[in-house]
C-alpha cells in the first residue's frame, strides 16, 4: 500500500483543483467587472443626455477663459476614423474652444492635417466666417522623447563641443529653449481629453504635461457631448497648488 505516495497524489490533485478554482474565480471576478463597466457606461450615457439637453444644469456655466489650451489624445486606431474626429472637433468648437492640440501616438492625425485645416478656419484668417474657427497643433510620439534627444544634441553643439568655451550655469530653461528652437513652442495644454480604451496619455510629450489635467472620455465612437461639458466645467473648478 502506498502510504506516502497516495496522500501526496491526493494533495497534488487538490492543488490542481484549487488552481482551477482560483482561475475560475478570477474569470468570474472579471465578468462582474465587465458588467459593472457596462452599467456605468449606460449611466454615463444617461448623464450626458441630461447635461446636453439642459435638464441637469450643474455644468452649464463654462468659464472658458480658464481653458486656454485644450489637448485631445486619441488612440491611433480610433484616430483613423477622421469623420468621428471632425465631429468631435465640431462639438469642441461649438462649446467655444478656439485652440486645440491633437495628439495620437502614431501620427495618424498629423497625416490627416489637411482634412482638418480644410474643415476649420484658422483664427487668424477672418476672410470667411462660414467655417468654424479653430487653431490646431498636431503632435505625435516623435515630438516627445526623440525631440528631447534632439534638444540634447543641440545643447551639446552649443555648449559642450568647444572645450575652451565656458559653460553657463544650466537651468531647465536651457532645455525649454532648445525644445522651442526645435518647434515645441506652443503652451502646455491645460486639460487633455483622452479618447481610447484606457486613461493613459499614450506618450504625450512629457515636457508639456507637468500640470495638465487628464480626463478619460471613453472611446471616440461613443463620444458624448454632455460629458465634454462636464469635463471642462470640472476643470474650471480645479484648484492647483503647484506644489506649495
Amino acid at each position: 500500500m502506498d502510504l506516502v505516495g497516495g496522500p501526496q497524489k491526493i494533495l497534488h490533485k487538490i492543488s490542481l483543483n484549487d488552481h482551477m478554482i482560483l482561475v475560475l474565480l478570477w474569470h468570474i471576478l472579471h465578468l462582474i467587472v465587465k458588467v459593472i463597466y457596462f452599467v456605468w457606461e449606460k449611466m454615463r450615457a444617461i448623464e450626458s443626455y441630461l447635461i446636453a439637453n439642459g435638464i441637469v444644469k450643474t455644468y452649464e456655466d463654462l468659464n472658458l477663459d480658464r481653458v486656454k489650451y485644450l489637448g485631445i489624445v486619441v488612440d491611433s486606431d480610433e484616430a483613423r476614423e477622421t469623420s468621428k474626429v471632425i465631429e468631435l472637433l465640431e462639438w469642441i468648437s461649438d462649446i467655444g474652444v478656439k485652440k486645440v492640440c491633437l495628439y495620437d501616438r502614431e501620427g495618424v492625425l498629423k497625416k490627416s492635417k489637411e482634412v482638418f485645416l480644410e474643415k476649420f478656419d484658422s483664427m487668424g484668417n477672418s476672410e470667411t466666417n462660414q467655417k468654424r474657427q479653430m487653431d490646431f497643433e498636431f503632435v505625435s510620439i516623435v515630438d516627445g522623447k526623440e525631440t528631447v534627444a534632439k534638444a540634447a544634441n543641440l545643447l551639446y553643439k552649443k555648449y559642450y563641443s568647444d572645450p575652451n568655451s565656458e559653460k553657463p550655469f544650466f537651468t531647465e530653461t536651457y532645455l525649454t529653449e532648445a525644445l522651442r528652437i526645435l518647434g515645441s513652442n506652443e503652451p502646455d495644454p491645460d486639460l487633455i481629453l483622452i479618447y481610447g480604451p484606457t486613461r493613459c496619455h499614450l506618450g504625450f510629450p512629457a515636457w508639456r504635461i507637468r500640470y495638465t489635467e487628464m480626463v478619460h472620455m471613453g472611446s471616440l465612437k461613443n463620444k458624448k457631448f454632455g460629458l465634454i461639458l462636464k469635463a471642462i466645467n470640472k476643470y474650471t473648478k480645479v484648484k492647483q497648488n503647484y506644489g506649495s
Partner: protein, 232 residues
C-alpha cells in the same frame, strides 16, 4: 500620495499629523503590494516644488522623512521583512545633510536585498530628472570624445534617476486629482492612470484591487501600445 493636509483639516488634527497618518497608509499599501507580488513600487514623497511651502512645513516634512528613513533599516521594518532594496530618486543635493546622509545609509544598507524594489522620489520632479539626464548625456559624450556619435533616447534614459526600475504599469494619485504634477511624465506613456477620490490617509486594499482589476482588463491593449511605442 495626495490628501494628507486635507485629511488633517477634515479631522481637526494638528498641523503635520496628516503626513504621519499618511505614512501609516503607505506602510499598509506597501505590504499589500509586496504580498500581491508587485516587485517595483515608486512613491512620490517630496517634490522640488514642495520647497515652496512654508519653512516650518518643509522642516517638519524633512524631520519626518529623516525619522522614517532611519526606521527603514530597522530589523522589523517592512524593507527587511520583504527583502526590499530602497532607492532614493531625485536631486538629493537639494536635501539637507542629515536627510541626505540617512538616505545614503538606507540605500547602502538595503543594497543586497533583491526580492522587491522601493523607489522613493524625494526632491524630485520629472522635468528636473529629464534635464539632469540630458546634461549627463552631454557630459558623457564630451568625455567619450566621440564627435560622430549622436545622443539618442537610450542615452538619456540611461541617465535618468528612474533608470533603476522598469516603467510603471499603474500610477495611482489619490484625492481625485487628475494631473501628474511633474511625476514620472517620461515613464508614464504606457501607464494606466488611476485617480480614486479617496484621500491618501484613507486609501485601502480595495482601491489597490480596483486599480489592478482595471489594469488586468486593459492588459492586452496596454501591452500592444508598448509594442507600438517601441516600433514607432
Amino acid at each position: 500620495m495626495d490628501g494628507n493636509r486635507r485629511y488633517s483639516k477634515q479631522h481637526n488634527l494638528i498641523e503635520g499629523e496628516g503626513h504621519r497618518v499618511g505614512f501609516t497608509s503607505l506602510m499598509s499599501m506597501l505590504k499589500y503590494c509586496y504580498e500581491l507580488g508587485v516587485k517595483y513600487v515608486t512613491i512620490y514623497a517630496f517634490s522640488i516644488e514642495n520647497f515652496k511651502r512654508s519653512p516650518e512645513e518643509v522642516q517638519s516634512l524633512m524631520d519626518l522623512m529623516e525619522e522614517k528613513i532611519k526606521g527603514l533599516i530597522n530589523e522589523e521594518s517592512i524593507v527587511n521583512q520583504y527583502g526590499v532594496r530602497v532607492y532614493f530618486i531625485g536631486n538629493l543635493k537639494l536635501l539637507s545633510k542629515p536627510v541626505r546622509l540617512a538616505a545614503e545609509r538606507a540605500m547602502d544598507a538595503t543594497g543586497k536585498n533583491s526580492r522587491a524594489v522601493l523607489s522613493i522620489c524625494i526632491a524630485y520632479t520629472s522635468t528636473d530628472e529629464i534635464f539632469h539626464a540630458v546634461l549627463e548625456s552631454c557630459e558623457e559624450k564630451r568625455d567619450k570624445k566621440d564627435e560622430k556619435s549622436v545622443i539618442d533616447v537610450t542615452d538619456i534614459e540611461r541617465h535618468m534617476y528612474m533608470g533603476v526600475t522598469p516603467d510603471p504599469d499603474i500610477i495611482i494619485r489619490t484625492s481625485g486629482e487628475t494631473r501628474l504634477s511633474n511625476f514620472l511624465l517620461w515613464q508614464s506613456g504606457d501607464c494606466l492612470l488611476y485617480s480614486p477620490p479617496v484621500l491618501w490617509p484613507e486609501i485601502g486594499f480595495r482601491h489597490l484591487v480596483q486599480a489592478v482589476l482595471d489594469f488586468q482588463k486593459h492588459f492586452c491593449y496596454i501591452n500592444n501600445q508598448k509594442k507600438i511605442g517601441s516600433e514607432v
